[in-house]
């Protein structure tokens, strides 16, 4: 399978990326790790006339602790997330998630910014970003703006990225003391998208839950923030009944489509199971 012909650009700096995006508009696509876009181009589901490769833009790489938050360049690969000591110390959820994405070869190329910007509800980072209360730096001809994860995912392959904009950085606030997190993903095999998955972040103080966020992967048109499920946990100790209640509230917001991974009811049931599993792991880690 061979993509349609296109013109290839590999600018070295962000202003050149934005200039090319502005010049070519709808005819251009950004190339990050290429492990979603190139398969779509090979299948001719995508056929951009201009491909703008971000691989030479050094400012889009790297992981740093700055201003009380973790800042991750959009072109940072899944493999770099897995081996980051900074993330291991502060946001271990990201490495746990990255280890469950695709396979080693794909993780050497696939990037966190590409995974998020693609707008695919089957991708894993969107739910994790919702659970971590992350925000994204979007750069365009008019400058930079910061969009919270909660406002970013609009629909399948539809995000808050405006024409001419590129995601440059992911920002994650440092978790407070007593925080535990987990990503539980059910998949049929290595390399498959989730049948259902759940990202959970909980914070405990004196055994009582002070804050919680839960988000779901691949059981709706976008990653879904399960606000009612998370809020049901706050203000009390989390026991087995509370976990079951949160799972049921999360299951109430799913809208999966049936495919080879299962029908709607099965996927919803598995979303509930993943919420339970992730909650139990997160609780064990928070204590």
């Amino acid at each position: 399978m061979i993509p349609r012909p296109f013109e290839y650009h590999a600018p070295a700096a962000l202003p050149d990326v934005i200039a090319l995006l502005t010049q070519y508009g709808d005819e251009a696509k950004l190339l990050a790790g290429g492990h979603s876009l190139l398969p779509m181009m090979k299948l001719r589901f995508a056929g951009p006339a201009h491909l703008i490769d971000l691989r030479k833009v050094a400012s889009l790489k790297g992981i740093a602790l700055e201003g009380g938050e973790i800042r991750i360049g959009a072109m940072t690969t899944e493999n770099e997330l897995i081996f980051s000591e900074l993330l291991e110390r502060h946001i271990p959820l990201l490495a746990e998630t990255a280890r469950q994405i695709a396979d080693p070869q794909v993780r050497y190329r696939g990037t966190i910014g590409g995974d998020i910007s693609h707008g695919d509800p089957g991708n894993d980072h969107p739910a994790v970003m919702l659970a971590l209360n992350a925000s994204f730096v979007l750069a365009g001809a008019a400058g930079e703006r910061i969009v919270p994860a909660g406002d970013f995912f609009r629909g399948t392959f539809d995000t808050a990225l405006a024409p001419g904009e590129v995601m440059t950085q992911i920002r994650i606030p440092l978790p407070g003391p007593g925080t535990g997190s987990a990503y539980a993903k059910l998949k049929r095999k290595t390399g498959d998208y989730a049948t259902a998955a759940a990202a959970v972040v909980v914070q405990l103080k004196n055994g009582s839950c002070t804050a919680a966020r839960i988000a779901l992967t691949n059981v709706g048109p976008t990653a879904l923030a399960a606000h009612d499920a998370a809020n049901s946990l706050v203000g009390k100790p989390i026991d087995g009944a509370a976990i079951g209640q949160a799972a049921r509230l999360a299951m109430a917001i799913t809208a999966p489509s049936a495919d080879l991974r299962g029908d709607e009811d099965y996927k919803t049931a598995m979303a509930g199971q993943m919420v339970e599993r992730a909650l139990r792991s997160a609780l064990a880690r928070a204590r």
């Binding site: 296109f6 013109e7 590999a10 190139l38 090979k42 491909l51 080693p104 070869q105 050497y108 290595t190």
Partner: protein
């Protein structure tokens, strides 16, 4: 679409190719350079048969454009044996029966090479986790794990013997 000159180092040799931007690395290797060790298995970045080592990373060459490789250091199975002597991984796959039909083997060995560069003493669980991007439909993986353990031991300078009774005889 205008063709572009792309230059990289392939198995130690400076290499230039003239390609359309849409040409995939696997096609450049196999059809322009007659480097046919990397195989086209699935053509959808699932099977790992097309794995090559690119700038210190295992990548699936069916999902890389050749134009993305300008300036790269590249290694394929053709670069493993030196002066007629097999690389420890090639020896391991032979001694431990890590292959049957052999279709997946170039990708397996190329991927295992990078794994052992990053982790010279992987456990069985490590090997299974970090080799998960390469599919084999013959062996059931057991002997592939043994082959990589054999190579790892040999590359650490340890004395190795095959676990296979026929090979040892």
């Amino acid at each position: 679409m205008a063709k572009t000159i792309v230059s990289f180092t392939l198995n130690g040799a400076a290499t230039d190719v003239l390609v359309e931007p849409r040409e995939l690395l696997i096609h450049t290797l196999r059809e322009r350079l007659s480097v046919t060790g990397p195989h086209i298995g699935c053509d959808t970045s699932h099977c790992g048969a097309c794995t090559v080592d690119l700038d210190g990373a295992s990548v699936k060459s069916c999902t890389i454009l050749t134009v993305q490789c300008d300036g790269a250091q590249m290694l394929t199975i053709e670069g493993f044996a030196k002066g007629g002597v097999l690389h420890p991984l090639q020896e391991g796959f032979s001694q431990e029966h890590g292959l049957q039909c052999g279709f997946c083997t170039p990708g397996m060995i190329t991927r295992a090479y990078r794994l052992l560069q990053e982790n010279p003493s992987p456990t069985e669980a490590d090997i299974r986790f970090w080799m998960a991007g390469n599919l084999c439909r013959c062996t059931g993986y057991q002997n592939i794990v043994k082959a990589i353990q054999y190579a790892a031991a040999k590359m650490r300078g340890e004395t190795v013997t095959t676990s296979h009774p026929v090979m040892a005889a």
